[in-house]
């Protein structure tokens, strides 16, 4: 009996300490990034319904460095009506990559980016079609 009680206590402590320390959406996204990745930073995005044709609404800057392979993982909450998409532009506003293929309409859940030009880039996030949604974009280094 004591053994089971202790086991239960350990389980609860484990669950509680995990829950209090991280947002589950972020931690799941971090944990499912795949092997050989190292967490760098995350962008938590929550957007109301917008216009489908408008510019992407959440923008953040980030320095990306030459000779580094980055992974951008995009995760959506269950309540999200849209799927999170990411487009990266360089300092000259040139599109470098997008997780949304305009030709096929396909949305990729992650993008690996082999960076060969160091600089400050703009990460543009939105949900497809300007839909309402909440999600997280997590940036990793890939070894």
């Amino acid at each position: 009996m004591n053994k089971y009680f202790l086991l239960l206590v350990f389980l609860l402590v484990g669950i509680f300490s995990q829950a209090q320390s991280t947002d589950p959406l972020v931690s799941n996204c971090v944990m499912n990034a795949g092997p050989d990745t190292r967490y760098l930073k995350d962008f938590r995005i929550q957007l109301a319904q917008g216009s489908p044709s408008a510019d992407m609404r959440y923008k953040a800057q980030m320095s990306l460095w030459k000779n580094t392979k980055y992974r951008f993982s995009l995760c959506n909450s269950d309540e999200s009506q849209g799927q999170l998409i990411l487009t990266i532009k360089d300092v000259a506003n040139k599109e470098i990559l997008s997780s949304f293929d305009k030709k096929t309409g396909k949305i990729y859940p992650f993008i690996d980016f082999i960076c060969n030009k160091s600089g400050i880039y703009t990460l543009n996030f939105d949900f497809d079609g300007g839909k309402q949604g909440s999600g997280v974009g997590v940036v990793f280094m890939v070894r």
Partner: protein, 304 residues
């Protein structure tokens, strides 16, 4: 306010576009004197702009990752272990030390040096409490993860996330000067680590990474500028950043153009950038950067 930032951005973009219009294949991007932001402008930077700048600064984890890829062994000699959290009296000292030790923590975590990271964590705890932001650091969980050595991603996530929360809290509560100090501390320690290692391991990739710091140096200066007149400590730090910038003046970064190549793989997309950046930095310039970084960083870690 946003208009001013837009003007600065426009000026930077104009420089880039004018480069692109030239006929040479190789484009040079040099920081001219004119791109330095006048103090009056930077003093008016919006909270949004400061937030953007703070996100730009590269993570010390990236430098540590690079060192691991170069198979550089861990060395405790690079750490700022002389910092005594109990002897950091002013908020300035506490915040900058918090940044410096944060970078060390990133280095230790990446190398899974748990014994040393527990000592650093204790100092971080004291310093964070000293500027009333201890509540954002989940010390017990970070300590547990450090000791377990089993879950590096959770450890990195929690450590970095704690610093992000502290940074946001300080900025939201009109204590942006401490947030700026923390970020500058992180950068200086990362730069110190890279420059110390390059002395022993003169790897071209590491040399380039040091030279490329020129790209974000102006941002760091902009981040510090609104606070340069607070007191002597702040003005000395601002001067130090200007001296570092001066050492970078003739370091050149040039670019070659190209279109990214995308391929689908394992359900995701792999994008390879064919545009490249190239750093031109002489050994003498590198030496000066190494020396000034060491000098400034060592002055910051002296206990008062």
């Amino acid at each position: 306010m946003k208009g001013k930032v837009a003007i600065i951005l426009f000026a930077v973009l104009s420089v880039c576009f004018s480069c692109r219009n030239s006929s040479d294949k190789t484009k040079q991007f040099i920081f001219p004197e004119a791109d330095s932001v006048p103090l009056e402008e930077s003093e008016k930077l919006s909270a949004e702009a400061i937030e953007e700048i703070s996100k730009n600064i590269s993570s010390p984890v990236e430098i540590a990752n690079l060192l691991q890829m170069m198979e550089v062994p861990f060395s405790a000699d690079y750490l700022a272990s002389t910092i005594d959290a109990n002897k950091q009296e002013t908020a300035f000292d506490k915040a900058i030390s918090l940044g410096i030790l944060g970078a060390d923590l990133g280095y230790l975590n990446m190398y899974e040096q748990t014994a040393s990271s527990i000592d650093i964590l204790s100092s971080i705890k004291k310093l964070a409490e000293g500027i009333n932001v201890g509540q954002f650091f989940d010390f017990e969980t970070i300590k547990r993860l450090s000791l377990n050595r089993s879950d590096l991603d959770s450890l990195l996530f929690l450590s970095i996330d704690s610093y992000t929360q502290i940074d946001e809290y300080l900025r939201d509560n009109a204590r942006g000067q401490l947030s700026a100090l923390m970020i500058i501390g992180v950068w200086i320690e990362g730069q110190y680590l890279a420059t110390q290692v390059v002395k022993e391991y003169p790897d071209p990739v590491l040399k380039d990474r040091i030279g490329e710091q020129k790209i974000i140096l102006n941002d760091l200066i902009m981040l510090a500028n609104p606070y340069c007149k607070i007191d002597l400590e702040y003005s000395e730090l601002c001067n130090s950043l200007q001296i570092i910038k001066e050492k970078y003046r003739d370091v050149r970064i040039s670019y070659t153009l190209g279109e990214p190549i995308s391929v689908e793989k394992d359900g995701g997309l792999v994008v390879t950038q064919t545009e490249t950046s190239k750093v031109e930095m002489t050994d003498e310039q590198l030496k000066e950067i190494i020396d000034i970084t060491e000098q400034i960083r060592n002055k910051l870690i002296v206990n008062k």
